[in-house]
Subunit: 457 residues, 2 copies
Amino acid sequence: MDALKDLAEALGPRFTTSESARAQNARNEAHFPDAMPDAVVWPETTEDVALTVRTCAAAGIPITPLGVGSSLEGQHLAVKGGVSLDFSRMNKVRAVNAEDLNAVVQPGVTRTQLNDELRATGLFFPIDPGADASLGGMAATRASGTMAVRYGTMRENILALEAVMADGTVIRTGTQARKSSSGYDLTHLLIGSEGTLGIITELTVKLQGQPEATAAATCRFDSVEDAVNCVILTIQCGLPMARIELVDEMMVHGFNEMAEAGLPEKPHLFLEFQGTPTGVTEQAAMFREIAEDFGVQDWKEATATEDRTALWKLRHGAHYATAAIRPGPQFRTLATDVCVPISKLAEAVTTAQDMARKMGVICTIVGHVGDGNFHCGVRFDPDDPNEVQTTQDFAGKLAELALTLGGTVTGEHGIGLGKQKYMSAEHGPALAYMRAVKAAFDPQGILNPGKLLPPGN
Amino acid sequence: MDALKDLAEALGPRFTTSESARAQNARNEAHFPDAMPDAVVWPETTEDVALTVRTCAAAGIPITPLGVGSSLEGQHLAVKGGVSLDFSRMNKVRAVNAEDLNAVVQPGVTRTQLNDELRATGLFFPIDPGADASLGGMAATRASGTMAVRYGTMRENILALEAVMADGTVIRTGTQARKSSSGYDLTHLLIGSEGTLGIITELTVKLQGQPEATAAATCRFDSVEDAVNCVILTIQCGLPMARIELVDEMMVHGFNEMAEAGLPEKPHLFLEFQGTPTGVTEQAAMFREIAEDFGVQDWKEATATEDRTALWKLRHGAHYATAAIRPGPQFRTLATDVCVPISKLAEAVTTAQDMARKMGVICTIVGHVGDGNFHCGVRFDPDDPNEVQTTQDFAGKLAELALTLGGTVTGEHGIGLGKQKYMSAEHGPALAYMRAVKAAFDPQGILNPGKLLPPGN
């Protein structure tokens, strides 16, 4: 392709068609087959991105943005070939505006990198998906994590974006002010659009002050139902939990296998309280009072920073610990991601467990249950058609259940490749308006083709 | 127009062309000339709205939605004639899902009506613009108010919408779950779109638990600069203020004139603290410690419910109290609405005061300063071309200043008729993508024509 030659010439060492680089970006941590791009571009500036897009647009070549490649629905896979736009070199924190509680970052900055750079400021960035994802990728998939129950998701934590659109135009959305009623909300239209409407090249993210005091705790329950009902009541009482995470017995087994966690293999809640020292004590006491009614046992507090860090590191390793329940490189993990109204959470989780048992599905359950969001991590053999079918059936039934309960098929992983089949059921006639936006913004369909929108009209 | 006859027949008493009804919806509380619609429709159901839109779409007749008509940028004025779609009869609270902390409402429900209906539940809806606005109108203009500093704006407090689109299609966006990564964020695209992309016919709004304890307070400062610097430090320290409102000396004068408030005519802050009883005491003490550094005086707490209610009723009357500084039916009020990063707030407010003095502009200043948002309420004589020009110049210079400081021309009132002239300066190349959305969703341009987007391409 002549366009690729043009790119090679214009970008020099920031462009390659080498097999190894392409193969690296062809992989994923979920269950999708590898997908080779024709070339890899490592932009270093917004202008590099704009030039790449302009060149590709002229030749109709697909462009698929990639952060660290930790997406769980294949969003970064170049399934139609073309250019893999790899943001690993656009990884600068451009500004930390401590006075305004925000930071301006390039999309390749990861969440832990940003927090490392913030350490001296007394501020932090709260959104924490399991992986050390890039902030651009997190914005593009509308990611969240364990602290969304307190601080919101990427949707609530981005003030402004810079993006390169399908013809190479660079736009800025939002401002540095904390709110605005000026015009259509293009910031939120781009957040969660998975690189299909525009390519994010800079983000202004909100920061939070480090709380004066933090305390973490773990506790166990006899049943998932008890644990979930405890969560429901906690949220309904308005307790400002910083984290409230469900870990089912199989997930605990995974943690024990992966990290010798030494936890009793029963459903657990992992908790964090933040506030003033008095506030934290008050919150923990209120939580324990609620939890007593659900037969809480094994209350263990972790106040030292290293203990808390170890706890959340364990929790963030859930995807890898899930692998440990059925080890072996031949197996893959499909992670479901339904999110339901909190009042329906116990029903959703127990139904998921029942279904898994009846269908013979091997899975962990872990969840940001304060938001009504939980993941079943299903281990399956991709070379066994029966297992593949059963896994897909299980995920499909769970998606259907979530919609029946007034929820969504994806709380934080996005649609990507794996959930397009549920788009029509979830959105009905609204889907046509999503297609209309796509057609208006990317008429050639070169931005991350094959993602988010199902084929057809 | 035949289409209007069709509507008259189909809608019966829910349709009128009577002069008095049209004249009532032609008025506004801001400074815009009256604008008569050709007809008024009072829908009672989503199907009434869909039928009206289908009929108007077939004949190319404009449709302008109206809540209670309290918008400050003329959003509800039928400047191109056609149908005024008056939501005053779609005013039912459809469901209060206390367990899920949300309510499903029709767009004509007002904020105080919803809170009255919530009283027995221990929950409340926190967004409170000055007027007792309709929730549909508040969503359409991305409104906020005094508690946005704690609870966010309409942008952060809507889970799901039902809307009638330009061809009469009814869509649903979002779900009852607290978060979702499923598809393009049409909910946020509609919030703030001022009825130009679709007409909101139902909203699911988030509710908050009534705090255990609440305390309000007022205090005064020698200068606006001291007051604002106190606010800046308070926000930067992460104190979770429920309300922190600036009232300048002229605004206090207005309150004294309107309501015999008996306050010393100096800059004040109006405050509210919410939390546990201990938390509220802690917060108030921390605030006072900060405020001491800025020479705070006249600290007055209001803990009794009736005292707090009286305080916030006074504050919410700012638009009317502004009229009291220059009384007379011949004068109008132009309310500016800039919002800047908090670090630039002192500069913005003092520059506004200096400009007003130098230009001979008579205005109050009042603001949701915890968000960096403040209003200059300029009283002027619409029949005096010099005053009109000076008022417009003042507003223009202030808008320019806000953009220079990294802010926005409107924090919560929206664009409507009055701020289109700043759209290009604020959004640059992004404006073309707003136009693209409008063209894709409403190719005939029948939904609230003449609003939000400036004329041209």
